[in-house]
């Protein structure tokens, strides 16, 4: 009798362990598959050109050189200029930081109004904003170019900031609105009775509550804006191009020998800030995404 009861539990335990190991194996395979390109990029960027030409793609560098990184940062040629990525990196910073901050702030304000100050037509306006999220970039290119011309900010960094803020508001509003609808309306009522006005309630009560969703929005917006190529290439000129456009130019405008190591280093440099944002704030990202679903 005991035998009969005992056996299945042991075999089920064995099955569980096997399943667990199978799971790890599967995950490892996928992780390896996913990280392989990054590995190739990193090793290639640390090899010199001869080694790249001679060796295998997957081999570790025999001699580590930082020269390609130096070239990518301050010496590579984009068209006729040969200052590397550096000036464009700062263009992107000057573009992304204000654009992220402004669009996040406006999104927070919009979300606060739509979720907590229910007014006639609030749902319609929210739906229209949502609709704005689904308009493809390409559709707005021409009207936007015309608009920037009229506003006299065509080809400037403020112009690009404007474009990204406008395009980002739909998403940021969505994030904040969905976060703020979970906050009981009684909180706003209590603050009203305490005498706080529209902005006071926003600053003193809602913004301090918003850290998780601010992190989500900042990561989302920063990634979008930093990685954007289409708006960058369409609405910038020689001195104001963001890093993505410069990267493209470096890779495409080499003369003579193709410097793979420099290209790889440049690509990693261009991707580093978004990577950094994820590493620093990634924990909050997951937390913020699931915040609305489970009440704390």
């Amino acid at each position: 009798m005991t035998d009969v009861i005992y056996r299945p539990t042991q075999s089920s335990r064995r099955a569980r362990i096997a399943l667990r190991w199978g799971l790890y194996l599967m995950l490892s395979v996928f992780a390896f598959w996913y990280l392989l390109p990054l590995f190739v990029m990193l090793t290639t960027s640390l090899k010199n050109l001869e080694e790249i030409r001679a060796g295998s793609l997957l081999a570790l560098p025999r001699e580590i050189t930082l020269e390609p990184w130096r070239t990518a940062w301050s010496g590579a040629c984009t068209g006729i200029r040969c200052d590397g990525l550096q000036p464009f990196f700062w263009n992107s910073v000057m573009l992304a930081v204000p654009a992220v901050m402004i669009s996040t702030l406006i999104g927070a304000m919009n979300g606060y109004v739509i979720a907590q100050w229910r007014f006639r037509g609030a749902n319609l306006i929210f739906s229209l904003m949502l609709f704005g999220c689904f308009i493809p970039f390409q559709v707005v290119l021409l009207p936007m170019a015309r608009m920037l011309g009229i506003m006299n900010i065509a080809g400037t960094i403020p112009g690009l900031i404007f474009v990204h803020v406008i395009y980002g508001i739909g998403f940021t509003t969505l994030f904040f609105r969905n976060y703020y609808v979970t906050i009981p309306a009684e909180l706003t009522k209590a603050a009203k009775i305490d005498g706080a006005g529209f902005f006071r309630i926003f600053w003193s009560i809602f913004l301090p509550l918003s850290l998780p969703i601010i992190v989500v929005t900042v990561i989302w917006q920063f990634t979008q804006i930093w990685n954007d190529f289409l708006f960058g290439v369409s609405f910038s000129q020689a001195g104001t191009q963001p890093i993505t456009v410069a990267l493209n130019n470096i890779v495409n405008s080499t003369t003579g020998v193709k410097e793979y190591n420099v290209d790889m280093a440049a690509a990693i440099i261009a991707a580093l800030p978004t990577l950094l944002v994820y590493v620093v704030a990634g924990k909050y990202f997951i937390r913020g995404l699931t915040a609305g679903s489970v009440k704390g």
Binding site: K189, A190, K192, I193, D194
Partner: protein
């Protein structure tokens, strides 16, 4: 002296839906008004209208003798305690209590002294540096009350403040609110769906249903002389028995005959009620149906009925019988000899009886 709160002809519509219809209520300083009714009766909406959190569609609201119909909530000289407490989650308890004063620009020294006073009054001194998330339900409730008390308003508003607490704590806090009311002599409007809370706290009760006031009165009036069958049924636990009966005029007063499924009909005589005839509903509280011989008086009249269920509840025993085709509950003493399936001689205390029309449920006297 003018009433502290005076609501005249108040209407509230959402679109074409009427939420509140012709509300007229007034209370004097120091009164404790309880708005009670089933969910969806408009009691919370009425409270929000008094607070100015909901605009009204018609009528007027005066607080402290001033017309406040179109005044914003912060200028109405009120304080409100919410069901969910609505404490500011990112602020400490102290900040929660002083936030209103801070917004109104009260100087720091006054803020500190008022905070200290309220904290002592509610015994929340050790909690002042905590966040609301670190408090228990009862503690949050105290902090929410502290936020209202510190304002020292003309009128306190409570929106079901106890319904998120467990049963034991609810009774404790109920007593505490009553004590606060007595100590402060403050005027309060309190919303609840719990009729026991209403009975224990109120000096005046407003019973509402479907956006219409059914009855306004002291707890005693509401309990002993309900205006209609809704109030009779809603207030009191177990509810008032509404027994279908037939009345015929007598030389003095009226005869009341109650059909009985398992025996002789019961014939009662109420000399006070002249000219009753036809179908009526006889309203009797469970405690006004006693064992024969337990209560004396000319209006205590006996009848024998078969007992269906006996429910001992400690201090009392509830005995259910069937009269006029309906279950009738009586509250008997714990040592009653009633047994299911056996007939029992009941005494009906008609001095406490109410009579209602079966058509519209209205009180007939």
């Amino acid at each position: 002296m003018s009433p502290i709160l005076e609501i005249q002809g108040l209407f509230k519509n959402y679109g074409s839906t009427e939420i509140l219809k012709d509300i007229n209520v007034s209370i004097n300083k120091g009164e404790f008004l309880v708005l009670v009714g089933p969910s969806g009766c408009g009691k919370s909406t009425l409270l929000n209208c008094i607070a100015g959190l909901e605009p009204i569609s018609g009528g007027s609201i005066r607080i402290g003798g001033q017309d406040m119909t179109h005044v914003s909530p912060k200028d109405r000289n009120i304080a409100m305690v919410f069901q969910s407490y609505a404490l500011y989650p990112t602020m400490s308890v102290a900040k929660n209590i002083t936030f209103g004063m801070q917004v109104r620009g009260v100087d720091k020294a006054t803020q500190a002294s008022k905070l200290a006073e309220v904290a002592r009054q509610l015994q929340i001194e050790p909690l002042l540096n905590r966040r609301p998330g670190q408090l228990s339900g009862g503690q949050r409730q105290r902090v929410a009350m502290g936020r209202a008390l510190v304002r020292d308003p003309a009128l306190f508003l409570f929106d079901e403040p106890l319904s998120n607490l467990d049963a034991k704590l609810r009774v404790e806090m109920r007593t505490e609110i009553k004590r606060l009311h007595q100590d402060l002599g403050a005027s309060m409007v309190y919303v609840t769906h719990d009729q026991i809370e209403a009975m224990t706290l109120a000096t005046k009760i407003v019973v509402m249903k479907g956006g219409v006031i059914q009855q306004i009165g002291t707890p005693h009036e509401i309990y002993t002389r309900p205006a209609n069958t809704f109030v009779a049924d809603f207030m009191g636990s177990p509810a008032m028995n509404l027994i279908p009966a037939r009345a015929t005029p007598a030389t003095e007063g009226s005869f009341i005959e109650i059909g009985c499924d398992t025996g002789q009909p019961i014939r009662l005589h109420d000399p006070r009620m002249a000219g009753l005839s036809g179908d009526i509903l006889l309203g009797l509280r469970p405690e006004d149906i006693v064992e024969a011989g337990q209560r004396h008086g000319p209006l205590v009249q006996n009848g024998s009925v078969m007992v269906e269920v006996v429910e001992p509840a400690g201090a009392d025993t509830f005995v259910v019988a069937r009269l006029g085709g309906k279950e009738v509950t009586s509250r008997l003493s714990a040592d009653t000899g009633a047994k299911p399936g056996k007939a029992l001689e009941f005494g009906f205390d008609l001095s406490k009886a109410s009579y209602f029309s079966p058509q519209d449920g209205a009180r007939m006297s």
